[in-house]
Symmetry: C2
């Protein structure tokens, strides 16, 4: 129904929405925590949802943590979660390479130690982790030693990203049979105080430009994140709620997968941006209009406690 989206959620409406879903997917940063601080009330929301028999999952584009690292962080911040409930792009990209690509061979990894661990957990070896400094001249770069059994380039967040890594990725990707996968396209990692640092999207764009190829991406808004949850647990899209702070990733994922969507204002996106998308008349931007919004997920507490 036109005009019925982007509605502020409270009171009876919140109760109705929660009654209409069996599963809730939460983004993490900007939704249940900010940096190293839990959003006040968020641990209790998660706890009450579970008490009401809802399945709860955490889906994040951050590729720098394993599921175990997430559970540890959540525990420190007062959340009760198990590894099974956590879907980060370090884990999901390993699953993607294993189950969708059925990769036979190694990965050239531009990424983190967490990605290495998640790859190894599904039996995929990697090469490339850590610094890779420049040496020699252009002809040396073009003839840099490559490992013959590398069959995929995987790009995630990598603080050691360098020209040499970009070059090595290009040399692997000029092989005909080399797959090309990225964890996500987030252009910036927002930090407290309105600052930000470059995100994985910048690194992926550099590699794509060099390789003149486009990577398949695993993270939100690509539907693989949801498929990953749905393949392990029974999740009916129409009875699932996606809660996030970003219109272009979280809400877009929900729209792409036919989920109900809830924007929370404790992170990146604003109601004004959602309304601008709604009024734009641009069909792609309609996917970036949430069904509902709240100031904070703590606004769900009355409906869960009532």
């Amino acid at each position: 129904m036109a005009g019925s989206k982007c509605v502020r959620l409270s009171g009876e409406l919140a109760k109705q929405l929660l009654a209409s879903v069996d599963s809730v997917l939460f983004d993490c940063d900007g939704v249940i925590w900010r940096g190293d601080q839990a959003i006040p009330g968020a641990p209790r929301v998660i706890e009450l949802l579970k008490e009401h028999g809802k399945k709860v999952f955490f889906v994040t584009n951050n590729s720098t943590k394993t599921r175990k690292m997430y559970v540890d962080k959540m525990s420190t911040l007062g959340f009760n979660a198990s590894e099974d409930e956590v879907f980060g792009t370090a884990y999901c990209s390993a699953i993607y390479l294993k189950t969708v690509c059925k990769l036979q061979g190694k990965v050239y990894l531009i990424g983190s130690n967490a990605m290495k661990q998640e790859l190894e957990a599904v039996g995929i070896q990697q090469t490339g982790l850590g610094p890779d400094h420049i040496f020699g001249k252009q002809t040396d770069w073009a003839n840099v030693p490559l490992e013959p059994d590398v069959k995929a380039v995987l790009v995630g967040f990598d603080e050691h990203f360098s020209y040499m890594k970009l070059n090595r990725a290009l040399q692997y990707l000029t092989r005909m049979d080399c797959l090309f996968v990225g964890t996500n396209r987030d252009t910036r990692l927002p930090l407290e105080g309105g600052t930000a640092v470059p995100g994985t999207g910048c690194l992926l764009q550099a590699v794509e430009t060099a390789a003149q190829r486009q990577a398949a991406t695993v993270g939100k808004p690509s539907r693989f994140m949801f498929d990953c949850v749905a393949s392990k647990f029974h999740v009916e899209p129409g009875r699932c709620l996606m809660v996030g702070d970003r219109l272009d990733t979280d809400i877009m994922l929900g729209s792409n997968c036919g989920l109900k969507t809830l924007l929370t204002l404790t992170g990146v996106s604003t109601v004004a941006e959602a309304e601008a998308n709604q009024k734009s008349g641009c069909s792609e931007r309609q996917g970036m209009v949430p069904d509902y919004y709240v100031e904070s997920i703590a606004d769900l507490l009355p409906a869960l406690q009532g």
Copy 2:
């Protein structure tokens, strides 16, 4: 006249073309040399053009050499040229910042020592040259010390490109008054044997993605390279010939500036690609169809010796 473009140049037609121009602009790599080898006959072509009273200029997107370095390389390969005749993007980006932007302040440089030298030659100081390794955590990156008098970010080829440089560029570019300039958008540097390494375009794309801003670029096909020549020497566009091996940079520059254009097949682009552009019916691609082509610029020798 439709159908009269992309004509093979020889015999009388070559004589007519040369008689119709006063100035000839040459791209360098793939046109007058390949790597460290002169194209056979190319030094003699340049010499004879000058003997016939033609002004000759060298315009290159390569940002790793000063004009002096170019003249030295040309001398080694048997070409007779002066610094005044050479227009590389290291030099042209310094001129652009000085004369077009009228920059008051420093440059944060992602680039080469040659770029530093050309900037200093016009009185612009830089910061950023050389390696910049990662340290600390995300909050340290967002709060990396910045120099207050930096008023422009300039991106050229930089083998020390790193995540920290990308981050530093982002932090400078979030300042309201920071200019953003790139030397060129070439995505790859082609080498002998069909290999290639990543070009400046990859680095620029990464910075643009992080900054969510588009850089002004100085190099071909941007017309600034031609304006740079034309502002120092009297060059009438209609009586000027652009000779290059790349359709997307050299020939496009010629089209953008109303020059006559000649594709030489000793480098990157092919006649088939030129013909595909011509037949595409796409107006942007018509700029990537040369007026004429030769196998090598040595094919001009008979017309010059006759």
